[in-house]
């Protein structure tokens, strides 16, 4: 595990919402082709940290980020960085499936279109098919690509959102509680998908389910009150964590 190169490096990352400080000098490195789970109680800063990785915090007024985050060698907060291009490299899947109110086909082809990744009909057809394949949705939707994405079940919608994220060939995929609105079967399919996506992408996932973190990730980072308290191999984290706060949290004990 320790020889895996780092895809993203977070150094002394702090986030302020106005006067309120939400993250305190977090140093967390994200390994390539690895699933990193961010866990911790509500308000601990895990989602805030996740959003710093593709500058989603930029959209929040009064939000200020200090410290340094690099993607490969690039400082993603450098003024010369094109945020739209950054978000193509670092994609995101949200808690609630949020397909565009358009057809399944257009949901997936939208990203490649605005980023100019496909031009001809054949190219679009191909990127739509391979993205839906990667998201494990192709067989379920191939005969109704022109029906609205919003007509799919919750689990299918979430996989459509993953297909949409995958379509622009990102390097990193951020997932903010991607299964919290899904039933156990849909959750299992998404987890299986995460497992497969890991071969080609670097994944960072925020989850409130300890079992999910234990199942899908190789590395786990535990946040508490805006601090990173422990980062460890997932196997170690859930059988014998080093930090008392991690121990109490994952075992459901009073902290």
């Amino acid at each position: 595990m320790n020889t895996v190169p780092y895809k993203m490096i977070g150094k002394d990352v702090s986030v302020y919402y106005g006067e309120k400080r939400a993250l305190f000098d977090v140093n967390l490195d994200i390994r390539e082709n690895t699933v990193t789970a961010l866990i911790g109680p509500s308000g601990c800063g895990k989602s805030t940290f996740l959003r710093t990785l593709n500058r989603m915090n930029d959209t929040i007024e009064n939000c200020r980020v200090t410290g340094k985050i690099t993607l490969d060698e690039d400082d993603i907060y450098d003024p010369s960085i094109d945020v739209v291009e950054l978000r193509a490299r670092v994609g995101m899947v949200f808690q609630k499936p949020n397909p565009f109110p358009k057809s399944i086909y257009e949901n997936v082809s939208y990203g490649p279109r605005i980023h100019g990744l496909a031009r001809t009909k054949a190219e679009f057809d191909e990127v739509v098919e391979t993205s839906l394949q990667k998201a494990g949705l192709w067989n379920e939707v191939k005969d109704r690509l022109h029906e609205p994405g919003t007509g799919l079940s919750g689990g299918q919608q979430q996989r459509l959102c993953i297909a949409r994220a995958v379509a622009v060939s990102p390097e990193v995929i951020l997932m903010d509680e991607p299964c919290s609105a899904l039933d156990p079967i849909a959750t299992a399919k998404v987890e299986e998908l995460i497992h497969e996506l890991r071969a080609n992408f670097t994944i960072v996932i925020v989850t409130h389910s300890m079992q999910q973190a234990a199942r899908v990730s190789q590395r786990t980072a535990m946040f508490h009150l805006g601090n990173l308290v422990e980062e460890n191999d997932t196997d170690k984290m859930f059988t014998n964590p080093d930090d008392q706060r991690t121990q109490d949290y994952i075992m459901g004990r009073f902290g």
């Binding site: 079992q211 121990q247 075992m251 004990r253 009073f254």
Partner: protein
């Protein structure tokens, strides 16, 4: 320092396992002590009691196993909670085996009763049993305290039991060579000695399990061994 669970029913389930293990431990101790007493005093009634007590221990192990399975399914325990439950299953299995060994000794009481046991041999067996019982008692105390240091020190003491067992083994062989009529009772006694020696091994297993429950790591190093009976024949020849 560990806090209570947010779900108090989970704490109750863990407490149930701890309580049942302690009960099993107490009964196993009693059975071992009774079986050796029955043997040296040729007390058939006591032997019979040990044999029937074993069923209680078997039931307890099954109940602990079932409760552990249900708790895992319901709570999906993590970290030390998970180790606690897995440890309970293993310790219950070791204690159940201790009960079996006591029962086996008790069954041999009838066979040995007719010929009587030479005083010297009886003393040796009693001494071996004392040591095994001290180990069992101490390991059960460590189970209550969860001290990894004490668990490790118990593990290191199994050597003493092995050494005494080896000397009993020699002694029994000598008796058998002196008079072939000794062969039947001495063979039974040899099995009894072996039973008691195995109890020490189970106590050591339990100590290792407790160490793992407390620390999440396996105890380091080989366990010390002084049981050389597997090569003894060549020495006698």
């Amino acid at each position: 320092m560990t806090h209570a669970h947010i779900t108090s029913a989970f704490d109750e389930e863990l407490k149930y396992l701890t309580r049942r293990i302690s009960e099993m431990g107490g009964l196993a101790e009693q059975m071992v002590a009774d079986s050796v007493r029955a043997l040296v005093n040729s007390d058939l009634a006591l032997a019979q009691k040990v044999i029937s007590d074993d069923a209680i221990l078997d039931d307890a192990e099954r109940q602990i196993g079932e409760k552990a399975i249900v708790t895992i399914a319901k709570r999906q325990p993590m970290a030390s909670d998970l180790r606690e439950i897995m440890g309970s299953i293993r310790i219950a299995a070791d204690l159940e085996r201790v009960g079996d060994l006591g029962k086996n000794t008790a069954k041999r009481v009838i066979a040995v009763a007719g010929s009587g046991i030479p005083r010297k041999l009886a003393r040796g067996l009693e001494h071996l049993a004392e040591l095994a019982l001290v180990q069992l008692k101490e390991v059960l105390d460590v189970y209550a305290s969860r001290s990894p240091e004490k668990a490790n020190s118990i593990r290191e003491r199994d050597e003493e039991i092995d050494a005494i067992y080896t000397s009993l083994f020699r002694e029994l062989l000598t008796y058998m060579m002196e008079d072939p009529r000794n062969i039947t009772p001495c063979t039974h006694l040899l099995f009894c000695a072996k039973n008691i020696e195995r109890i020490g091994d189970h106590a050591t297993n339990i100590a290792e399990t407790i160490y793992y429950m407390a620390t999440g790591a396996q105890p380091q190093g080989e366990r010390p061994k002084d049981d050389t009976t597997s090569t003894l024949g060549s020495v006698i020849d």
